[in-house]
């Protein structure tokens, strides 16, 4: 039956309208589903929410720091460290800033440095017997520098050298802390809640 004839009968016209509406709805939903399956997001969003390759959601934060100063990561240094703590931290509280998840980041804006830096950190391990130690893999601006093992409840000093080559020309130092031995809250808990270390203080000295 030609379209013109079909439209002449009110019942057929309603029927055609119904098919048209159903098709429009189905196609719209298909189009939206296609859009949703191809998210238009940046790498940080994708890594944290979609691919789940990190527990540390990068944010646009940077704290200024002058070498030679010791910064407290306990409650008393909350204001000073706020901008440095990019992600993967909880607190600070009385016994330090707790790591949260499988990795943490600190980002510092430094004055020009020549000859590298010596980093000195006071760190305590989060332990749950029988696990009594925590490994920390530390990288600066993407260059792996040091692996430390902290044990027991008492704070330990972790010191490592940051060569000039690892310092960006921009005067920006990004420190990555990876925790291979993080303790999960429970067997079924998300890894975003893993606990590994408590960072108590941080210091950089020019060499």
């Amino acid at each position: 039956m030609p379209w013109s004839e079909a439209l002449r009968s009110p019942r057929s016209a309603v029927s055609l309208g119904g098919y048209g509406l159903a098709a429009a709805l189905a196609l719209s939903e298909l189009a939206i589903l296609t859009l949703a399956l191809n998210p238009d997001v940046n790498g940080d969003y994708r890594a944290y929410y979609i691919d789940r390759t990190t527990t540390c959601l990068n944010r646009d934060a940077i704290g200024s720091y002058t070498p030679g100063r010791t910064i407290s990561f306990r409650s008393d240094g909350a204001r000073q460290t706020a901008a440095m703590r990019v992600c993967g931290w909880s607190g600070p509280v009385a016994d330090g800033t707790h790591s949260l998840g499988e990795s943490s980041r600190l980002r510092l804006a430094l004055p020009p440095v020549r000859g590298g830096l010596l980093a000195t950190l006071q760190v305590a391990a989060v332990i749950r017997p029988p696990q009594l130690t925590q490994r920390i893999v530390i990288s600066a601006n993407g260059v792996r520098l040091h692996q430390a093992t902290v044990s027991g409840a008492a704070p330990m000093t972790v010191a490592f050298f940051i060569p000039q080559a690892a310092l960006a020309d921009t005067g920006r130092l990004e420190l990555f802390f990876d925790y291979p031995d993080g303790i999960a809250q429970s067997p079924a808990a998300s890894n975003i809640y893993n606990r590994s270390i408590k960072l108590i203080s941080f210091r950089l000295d020019a060499l």
Binding site: G18, L21, E29, A188
Partner: protein, 391 residues
């Protein structure tokens, strides 16, 4: 003489209908008032503040704060302000949008408007349930008591998605009962914009279509062809998830990710896993002291009870409702037990079924009614106190 008797009979029937209508309207109103009084008494017993505004604020616990924020500020873009990784995208927009619309007309605080709106929606949900309980007055009274004066009535009278969800779920199943598929589709569309599991109502619709088709003698294999020949049914099916897709489009345009409502669950610590293991973990979480079950145990037991009630629905040949409720329980159970009690008690077909079952005898009816009213007080105290199982 015969005419006189017939007229007298008609007049009596008319009066009977009027009394019934007045009762149907008055019962939920009575429970709305009694519930308000009981919950207020519970609030007054733990708070030094007084007044309706303080009461409404005190009952705004857990997810309520998210809905208040969405209603007042909308959804964030990415990156989320204040260096947070937890966005509001996981909370569906219809109810906060409705409260925002009312607030644009009435100059009152959001939580006050939301509390009154929730009461009104739950009241309406009761009215819609009257035909769904088979016009069984005892079951109706129990259902109204459960929603408005019951142990979980704070879920249905504060700013959570439950009041609208229960109302729209009841609308879907009432429309299906009357074979009004287009109305069911529109209600489902709204339901899918209220909570993610609302989209599952479309399966109940298709099952009802299939049952009706089979009842008319249609063969199984010819069902798809019959369905394709009915454009009205196709519209009803495709309009059902429209609310969800509209929200997905909004998220894609604002956040860049149409599935942001799912992906944000990572920031809430929800991880996909085996529902049976989550149930086992919950049941194994024994109390350190005393005999009272822990919050995970309550959650696991509620999920199991909910699934058992789904089986009862299935046994009573309410396949669509059984599937809708079962998947609405299992889907969140694939991440963990969080909010499980709220999810189960917010499934209208299950609450209606319980009301019908408990109204079977006068004794169970009276006992259940007394229990609901008494538990309302203690559970409200627990809710205000932040008891984890009620989240």
């Amino acid at each position: 003489m015969e005419t006189y008797v017939a007229l007298e009979g008609a007049a009596r029937a008319n009066i009977g209908i009027r009394i019934m209508i007045v009762t149907v309207v008055a019962v939920p109103l009575l429970f709305a008032l009694s519930g308000l009084a009981i919950r207020y008494a519970a609030f007054a017993s733990v708070s030094s503040d007084t007044g309706f505004a303080a009461y409404a604020q005190a009952l705004c616990r857990w997810d309520c704060a998210w809905y208040v924020d969405i209603s007042e500020k909308g959804y964030e873009r990415f990156p989320i302000p204040n260096a947070s990784n937890v966005g509001r995208w996981g909370f569906f927009p219809l109810y906060p949008l409705l409260v925002a619309a009312i607030r644009s007309v009435l100059p009152f605080p959001t939580i006050l408007i939301a509390t009154i709106t929730s009461l009104a929606l739950s009241y309406a949900a009761c009215l819609v349930a009257w035909p769904l309980v088979g016009k069984n007055m005892r079951a109706y009274v129990l259902y109204c008591a459960f929603l408005l004066s019951g142990p979980f009535s704070f879920h249905f009278t504060t700013f959570l998605s439950e009041p609208l969800f229960v109302l729209l779920t009841s609308c879907v199943f009432l429309a299906l009962k009357r074979s009004n598929y287009l109305a069911a589709g529109v209600a489902s569309a709204l339901l899918s914009a209220t909570r993610l599991v609302g989209v599952l109502a479309v399966f109940a619709t298709v099952i009802h279509m299939y049952e009706e088709y089979r009842a008319k003698g249609g063969s199984i294999v010819a069902f798809p062809r019959w369905l394709l020949g009915r454009p009205d049914l196709l519209v009803a099916i495709f309009i059902s998830p429209a609310g969800l897709f509209a929200y997905m489009l909004f998220l894609h345009l604002t956040v860049g990710d149409g599935f942001a409502f799912l992906h944000i669950q990572r920031a809430f610590g929800r991880v996909a896993g085996n529902p049976l293991l989550f149930l086992w973990d919950g049941l194994s979480y024994h109390p350190n002291a005393g005999w009272l079950p822990t919050a995970p145990q309550w959650s696991a037991m509620t999920a199991i009870a909910g699934l058992a009630l789904c089986l009862v629905l299935g046994a009573r040949r309410q396949y669509g409702a059984a599937l809708f409720c079962a998947v609405s329980i299992i889907l969140p159970l694939t991440t963990n037990l969080a909010s499980m009690v709220r999810y189960v008690v917010g499934l209208a077909p299950l609450a209606i079924l319980v009301a019908v079952l408990l109204s079977a005898s006068k004794l169970t009816f009276v006992a259940a009614l007394a229990l609901f009213l008494a538990a309302c007080y203690f559970m409200t105290v627990a809710w205000i106190g932040g008891y984890l199982a009620l989240v």
